[in-house]
Symmetry: C2
Subunit: 418 residues, 2 copies
């Protein structure tokens, strides 16, 4: 996705002269967005356009925004408002965390029982028409949609409609039924369908928080490990990821995982070397993710940063905490320049334990705007003292466009009349 563009506006010319040059439609979209930001209200109550000569391109190619739609259903109109807000902030990847333990809101044509049994209710389901509509809406705004169907953990909601997909065990955190051939047949069919719905090259497979206790409790799994010469649960997990990525998907898709499969507690689990690793530990921490990034870079994986950008966790940070988050520099971990090149970007993430359609927009923005700046703009654009003015202006712009952006933490500036 080449998003670079050049924009030249001469507002002194009569009539006003503005030109965008870009190699792709994506670049043209970003240029138009910038142009819209040159339109400012004049003191006369009318609008005026600033002159400018801009040569611009993003610092990172992957500037994502993640929403969890399992813990709470987010309505399609609210997701569209989110896509609007993303485009206004030049974000280009909507990472859709579709399913999790709580609910299964995705309607599968092949396996309708998944949402019939697993969704919160019949109104809290994304129909195929909704999804295609959203993907198209995103595409028109220069946004790719990457779905996440997390596995082998965080799958309890799958078990409501398809109990055989889960390993039988007594603990609450179930795991995929790794020992059954039917599981792989099901996953093959399911993800084939997902592929026909989601055109993006990437699929997110989750892979986080795999507690093997459920597998430990199950004799069939133990036998399966013995039969397949899998000496421990890490080997079993690795086996599963290999099968998963080898399914019909392999040739045409690439994969993203949360960092857990290559985490510090692992002894060398190998993922597809082309996989992208999303760094999230410690969650919502402005600093401690750095050793993690350095370690995963050493393993040669490409990376996305999310740890300091869990915006659902501290909706009202104190000013000093806010500054810590604001100051996050994604390449500030200790590594070589070559390995730092493995960072393809980052994602702000909204987990919906406490959030639903009623408050996601006011909580997610303007926090996400700050994270968006860090991923588009050059490293040197980081100015704590001027940020309020810039984000107030951006907030005002979004509100005038109908996005219910929440107040800027600790700011009493009411200058935006909207």
């Amino acid at each position: 996705m080449d998003e670079s563009y050049e924009l030249e506006v001469n507002s002194a010319a009569m009539p006003l002269r503005a030109q965008i040059r870009s190699a792709t439609e994506w670049g043209a979209l970003r240029g138009l967005e910038t142009f819209s930001q040159l339109v400012v209200s004049a003191s006369t109550g009318r609008f005026t356009v600033k002159s400018a000569k801009i040569k611009d391109s993003p610092r990172f190619p992957h500037r994502g925004f993640m929403i969890d739609t399992s813990r709470h259903f987010i309505t399609v109109p609210v997701l569209k408002a989110t896509l609007d807000a993303m485009s206004y902030n030049k974000l280009n990847v909507f990472h859709w965390h579709v399913t999790d333990n709580e609910y299964f809101p995705y309607e599968s044509a092949k396996f309708p029982s998944l949402s019939q049994q697993g969704a919160a209710n019949s109104a809290s389901v994304y129909r195929r028409a909704d999804i295609l509509d959203l993907i198209n809406y995103a595409s028109l705004r220069g946004i790719r949609v990457i779905p996440e169907f997390g596995t082998p953990a965080h799958m309890n909601s799958w078990g409501k409609g398809k109990p055989e997909v889960l390993t039988q065990c007594q603990i609450a955190d179930k795991l995929v039924n790794v020992a059954s051939g039917l599981t792989y047949q099901f996953l093959n069919d399911f993800f084939q369908e997902v592929k026909t719905t989601f055109p993006d090259k990437y699929l997110h497979f989750g892979g986080d928080e795999v507690n093997p206790t459920c597998w430990m409790e199950n004799d069939v799994v133990s036998q399966f490990m013995e039969d397949n010469n899998l000496g421990d649960y890490e080997k079993l997990e690795e086996y599963y990821y290999q099968k998963l990525t080898a399914l019909a998907l392999n040739k045409s898709r690439s994969f993203i995982f949360w960092e857990d499969p290559v985490g510090e507690d692992k002894n060398g689990l190998k993922l597809d070397p082309a996989a992208i690793i999303q760094v999230w530990k410690p969650m919502a921490d402005p600093v401690q993710w750095k050793p993690n990034m350095a370690r995963i870079a050493n393993q040669g994986y490409r990376m996305l940063l999310s740890s300091p950008w869990y915006i659902s966790h501290y909706p009202f940070p104190s000013n000093s905490v806010l500054q810590q988050y604001y100051d996050v520099e994604p390449l500030s971990f200790t590594s070589s320049a070559d390995l730092k090149n493995l960072v393809t970007g980052g994602e702000a993430a909204v987990w919906t334990e406490n959030i639903d359609s009623t408050n996601i927009t006011s909580i997610a923005w303007p926090a996400t705007a700050r994270r968006a700046e860090r991923r588009w703009s050059p490293e040197w654009i980081v100015n704590w003292n001027t940020r309020k003015e810039r984000f107030q202006e951006q907030r005002c712009r979004l509100r005038l466009r109908g996005i219910n952006v929440g107040s800027i933490s600790g700011s009493f500036d009411n200058t935006c009349v909207c």
Copy 2:
């Protein structure tokens, strides 16, 4: 305000028979609200009415909800939605924290410069017509409106339009110009006007966080203290409150103060014995307010509890913290039954450092509904285990009525389709 009522519904009768008996219109309003809660959706997709025989009255006469409109302006439509939500939860006092250091959004006919200079902008002003409209809207819902114009501290915004009202000093936290006769003339005129706008018997005068440094810096104040035989700053503060309450207001109004004038650090400052003291320390604390309540009860003042009900401070509490707040029992401080009778109720409070019209409704509710229950219902109605079901039901009801109630913390129950 007698809010008691009796409600009898016989849904087996044809036609349905329902009767409300009450001594006042307030009681009738509360009975109608309860009746509306007996209307539930039937499994057929239609609505049905439950039979009931109810004799009901509130545990506390003052069940308030406070909004700070100085740090951020809250629009009139959002205030109306707040009044709606209050009535759906049988709250009966809207405590309007109109002004503070930040902005002065109240339009005074006699002193138009106050809002002209002190409001955030010309759109962030409550005109007299807006205010009368809100008071009428509240009244139709059985809600009294008590305005707070805090003094002698938290008045910086007054100084923008009327600099002479503030003591000249170098520190940021200005105080009222206590030594000038013009100040009292101004306050007299200002509050006379406030009285013509706000009909309620009570006025809230603030009185919180008076740091005397500003007075200490000013020679005229020092001379004034000497001339009036005021030996210390507490005496000066007491003098000020006496003058304030003796203004034309005295005969027709009663007063509410935050607890600070009778705080632990005071040596015996005396307020009007009829004043009501609003307990807020420590702020947003579920337990430590109790010694405070006991101490103030011993001084014989009537009291309102707010300390544990600062709902703007922890929008997403953990489950254990949530339970601590849920379990707050307003009379659980150590005192005699007689002195406990001095508690007239309590108020949930929304401070708007981080909140404005975009997010106040989703943050304030359903948190306030929980606090509302504790103030209306008998002491024994406290059940942590069933609360989710009850508040989910109430949230659903409010959402169906158009109130953008936020999600219930930590609840993944999506059963309300609205």
